[in-house]
């Protein structure tokens, strides 16, 4: 209990108290406090437990760089957010925050035993230890790791909040509203263009918020910006990432800073901003120093202590020791002293201190230890003293203190610069990478450009110490619990590139993306390898700059708006009938129509029997449709499809098989020639857009001499499949102008006429193996015609059926579904569709590839039928097939099941499969190993019902 509220100072409103709770305990602060400053003011030093060793941890920073003090904020059911950084959580009445990763409590943590056995957790521990035996992984290791190594818990209930999203355009976008950013925004605004100024904090000002001398200027500048109508200032808005051509994405937090009952409207708003020029004014983050005990609660960045004192009026302790290698530590110490925060001593590894700093410290009666380094921090839950030694190894002494401030120099925040692929150059004075070149209209100003005076210092992360590196507990990455010795171990084990060292040690891979650890890790690796930093490389920054909510990423695209849902004009009817739906290529399709308490199997069996014995109706409107028109239409299709099209007479249909240039099946469908220069193509439901795109590609770029027009007509036509022995009788009374007799209108023919008084393209086609028609009518009449067919069908026992029944019926006939029975590696011959390839055609898309050596080689997987020995056993689609069930694991898999159903028509199960050399295995018994059993099945031709096709001619 050492932090306290200073008698005066800070930007907090001391007249307005805020009450909140931390770990269930009531506490209070002032308006303008952050959760961190309010708790520090109450003397709280312990904020969390570390990731791997569950070591007690306090506050390190005062901003988004904070790696330790992660809290979960509970704003009611479904509104629990883990891993928020306490310094970035604005205090409001009723705020309920809890610490994380402790068991059972923050002060007493059982898992902290990890720390005592820390030798068991070196770098690469996870990779090395949990490799085997495999069974132990699921049952033993994973549950333990989940318990030990977790941050906050993921929410388990639906997020009830709404998230907004918007686009914006401007001439100048400034990221970061510190002094440099504000100056850049004012300058740009004076030129008259639209200016956006973004800042992640609750108020703009950046570093100026911690410097009372700048407050008057800040107030004036803020007022000036607010008064300019070409300027948009967004606070609580984090620029997450910079993308191509100055496209910046930013998340604005709208309500999290408000009490729950005052939070109305969207929680966050995602801005997508395209800017002419982007100015990055993101400042710099102070670096910690790496020494024994640098993670004890109370050891923090000097800049953080300064911010807590001058912005929030909170002293982080009553006896502070500063450990500096940089002038900024002295400046912060003097500023803290002036604000009434007691500074006991300044320890600096440098022997030579700028005379004006040394003199000022002396005047302030601060003891100075130039040439010294902290070698040990005592205290477990809070600092109670430090040991220091000359050059870290010489004669030592102890200093009494309750907080240690680290001043290790500054790292410019170049994250967004790096997102934009801007190059970096190493700067020896900063001991850090600075922006160099970019091809974007992008520039850095202020500290992130290296254009800021923090003074000078050494660039060392690791302080010299009496203990050898491999014995020390000096932390580099606080959030991922990476010690200096882990980096040493990684190098010892042969890792050289910082990208590899990072992944092996997990340095910089936590939610803070190494904001305080990357440079120190690099420096330590450089030291151990005895190679300059520039030869070791720099890890790449990637968006987002800070962790973001999934809600903000989704914006409005959730629930019903998650993705478009396409519905046919008959969908409402199916809904009323109680259809169970499935989504196919964003179309909502009726899968089956259960009656009473029927399950899917019962409903599908009934629907199948109805189609085979009487008549069924099916909404096939989702079929892809393309109108191909022009004098060269037949020539074009002849080149696209495998089979001949020029000879197809108007009024006739043909099954078309479409290959890629690689020779594999990519789509199929029945198409009709309506006139010499007009075709009505159909494609698979999912392939419609792809097929049109492919045809446009060939037409525009390969055969631009052909006079052909392609138009997508998928949504122009409703398609009602009427299938079954009584199909003709159902439609006959409704059709005008078409002779429906089998002689005049044979299978695979098309006629134009009228149905129910509207135009129709009537196809006599069948995907069921029964006598069938597909009634195409303009979509606006689809529901009317469906209702009329439904009414007429009542006399004949008409039954609606869904996609599942359609699948079973077609499988009984051995008709393939592209994408189910094919997988992009199946040729026409593999699928048993060699008959659909025009042997005499000189060329078509994919033809040359059908003669490639691997395509004509024996042993390819071929489509076959499978009949299980147990007729009631339905195979799993996707199940692997073996020839020898007794072979030792790993067994030789010779194929897999592609389609499998129970066939009510046949009273048994049926399946189709792709099997190596399948057509040579007819009559053989193959085996399908499943958990706990092996199923045997006989190879048959993939045609289970009416092989002669006599039922088509009803």
């Amino acid at each position: 209990m050492s932090g306290f509220r200073l008698a005066d100072g800070g930007r907090i409103d001391r007249r307005t108290k805020r009450t909140f709770s931390f770990d269930g305990k009531a506490s209070w602060g002032y308006a303008g406090d952050s959760l961190a400053s309010a708790l520090l003011a109450q003397g709280q030093m312990l904020f969390g437990r570390s990731f791997k060793y569950h070591r007690p941890r306090g506050i390190l920073g005062a901003g988004v760089e904070e790696p330790n003090a992660l809290v979960t904020v509970d704003r009611g059911p479904g509104r629990v957010t883990p891993n928020l950084r306490a310094p970035s959580v604005a205090l409001h009445d009723g705020l309920a925050a809890t610490s994380q990763n402790r068991f059972p409590s923050l002060r007493f943590d059982m898992v902290a035993l990890n720390d005592q056995f820390g030798a068991f957790f070196p770098a690469g521990f996870y990779n090395k230890t949990f490799m085997w035996p495999r069974a132990a992984w699921e049952k033993v290791y994973e549950p333990i790791i989940r318990r030990l190594a977790g941050l906050g818990d993921s929410p388990t209930t639906r997020d009830p909040d709404h998230y907004d999203a918007t686009y914006a355009h401007c001439e100048t976008l400034v990221v970061g509203a510190g002094p440099a950013g504000i100056a850049a925004a004012l300058e740009a605004a004076a030129n008259g263009g639209r200016v956006f100024l973004l800042d992640e904090q609750d108020e703009i000002g950046g570093g100026a918020l911690s410097d009372p001398a700048q407050w008057a200027w800040l107030a004036e500048a803020s007022a000036k910006l607010a008064a300019m109508d070409n300027v948009t200032v967004l606070s609580r808005t984090t620029a997450i990432g910079h993308y191509h051509q100055n496209f910046v994405v930013a998340a604005e937090r709208l309500t999290d800073h408000l009490p729950v009952d005052a939070a109305h409207g969207p929680r966050e708003k995602l801005w997508r901003i395209r800017a002419g020029e982007v100015v990055l004014a993101m400042g710099a983050i102070e670096r910690p120093l790496v020494f024994e005990g640098n993670d004890v609660p109370g050891v923090m960045l000097a800049s953080a202590a300064r911010t807590f004192a001058l912005r929030y009026g909170v002293a982080v302790g009553r006896k502070l020791v500063v450990m500096a290698v940089h002038d900024s530590g002295w400046r912060d110490a003097l500023a803290l002293h002036a604000a009434g925060v007691p500074i006991t001593a300044i320890v600096d590894l440098r022997r030579d201190i700028a005379p004006e700093l040394a003199e000022a410290a002396r005047d302030a009666r601060i003891a100075c230890y130039p040439g010294y380094a902290v070698t040990k921090v005592s205290g477990r839950l809070a600092v109670d003293g430090v040991s220091i030694a000359l050059a870290g190894v010489g004669k030592g002494l102890k200093l009494d203190c309750d907080a240690v401030l680290m001043a290790g120099g500054w790292t410019p925040t170049v994250h967004l610069w790096s997102h934009a692929k801007g190059s970096l150059r190493w700067d020896e004075n900063w001991g850090a990478f600075l922006p160099d070149k970019t091809h974007e209209d992008l520039r850095c100003v202020g500290a992130c450009a290296g254009a800021w005076d923090f003074g000078s210092g050494l660039s060392v992360g690791l302080l010299p110490a009496p203990k050898p590196l491999h014995e020390s507990k000096a932390f580099v990455d606080f959030q991922n619990d990476v010690k200096a010795r882990d980096i040493g171990l990684a190098v010892q084990e042969g890792f050289r590139s910082i990208e590899h060292i990072k992944r092996y040690t997990t340095n910089g891979m936590a939610t803070d993306q190494g904001k305080t650890s990357n440079l120190n890790g690099l420096q330590i690796a450089s030291g151990v390898l005895s190679r300059p930093v520039t030869e070791i490389g720099l890890t790449t920054f990637r968006p987002p700059y800070t962790p973001q909510s999934f809600g903000a990423m989704l914006g409005h695209h959730k629930e019903a708006l998650f993705q478009p849902l396409r519905k046919t004009v008959i969908d409402d009817w199916a809904d009323i009938q109680g259809a169970v739906y499935e989504n196919v290529a964003q179309w909502r399709r009726a899968r089956y129509f259960p009656q009473g308490s029927e399950d899917m199997d019962a409903a599908v069996a009934r629907e199948c029997r109805a189609v085979r014995s009487a008549v069924g109706v099916f909404d096939a409107s989702t079929l892809g449709k393309i109108e191909v028109v022009g004098p060269d239409a037949a020539e074009f299709l002849n080149r696209m499809y495998t089979n001949p099209w020029k000879s197809l007479e108007p009024g006739r249909c043909r099954y078309g098989l479409l290959l890629g240039e690689h020779g594999f099946i990519i789509d199929d469908g029945v198409s009709a020639r309506l006139a010499p220069d007009r075709f009505h193509l159909t494609t698979t439901t999912g392939g419609a857009a792809r097929v049109l795109g492919m045809m446009e590609d060939y037409l525009q770029t390969e055969w631009s001499d052909l006079n052909v027009w392609l138009t997508s007509t998928t949504e122009q036509w409703s398609v009602i499949a009427v299938q079954g022995p009584k199909a003709r009788r159902v439609i006959a009374p409704l059709v005008e102008g078409i002779d429906l007799s089998p002689e005049a209108f044979p299978h695979m023919a098309v006629r134009e006429g009228q149905i129910c008084g509207v135009e129709t393209r009537l196809f006599r086609v069948s995907f069921t193996g029964e006598l069938g028609f597909e009634v195409n009518v303009p979509a606006e009449h689809g529901r009317m015609v469906w209702d009329a067919i439904w009414a007429e069908g009542q006399k004949h026992g008409v039954t609606p059926y869904g996609t599942e029944t359609m699948h079973v019926l077609r499988a009984e006939k051995g008709f393939i579904i592209v994408g189910q029975d094919t997988d992009g590696t199946v040729t026409p011959d593999d699928a048993g569709l060699g008959w659909a390839v025009g042997k005499k055609k000189p060329d078509f898309v994919g033809k040359r590839s059908l003669a490639r050596p691997d395509i004509v080689a024996p042993g390819r997987k071929q489509l076959v039928g499978l009949l299980t020995e147990d007729p009631q056993m339905v195979l799993e689609e996707g199940a692997q097939i073996v020839a020898d069930p007794n072979q030792a694991v790993p067994m030789t898999m010779i194929g897999h099941v592609t389609s499998s159903y129970h066939s009510a028509t046949l009273g048994r199960s049926i399946a189709m499969a792709l099997v190596a050399g399948g057509r040579d295995r007819m009559g053989d018994t193959l085996h399908i190993p499943m958990p706990g059993k092996t199923i045997s099945a006989k190879v048959v031709a993939p045609m289970f019902y009416d092989p002669e096709g006599s039922r088509l001619n009803g």
Binding site: H244, F247, K421, H439, D697, E702, S704
Partner: protein
Amino acid sequence: MLLIHCPYCEEARPEVEFVYGGEAHIARPIDPSAFSDAEWEKLLYIRSNPRGRHHERWRHTHGCGRFFNAVRDTVTDVFETTYKAGEARK
């Protein structure tokens, strides 16, 4: 998100309106059957995959629907130019 200049619409439009179409200037031969297996393999599968200037096809799918060619730097993603299908390689 990239901004891509469509040479037909003569406008820079956001990337989401376009679909990438692979390497440009690989014409389908008039008579593929004249190609040896090795030549056909090369035509089908082997691409230049350069670091730097890349000639590639794009389609303004959600715009004019036209295919066109572009020169893009594969390191920076900067488009050097876009031009109509059928025009000479730039």
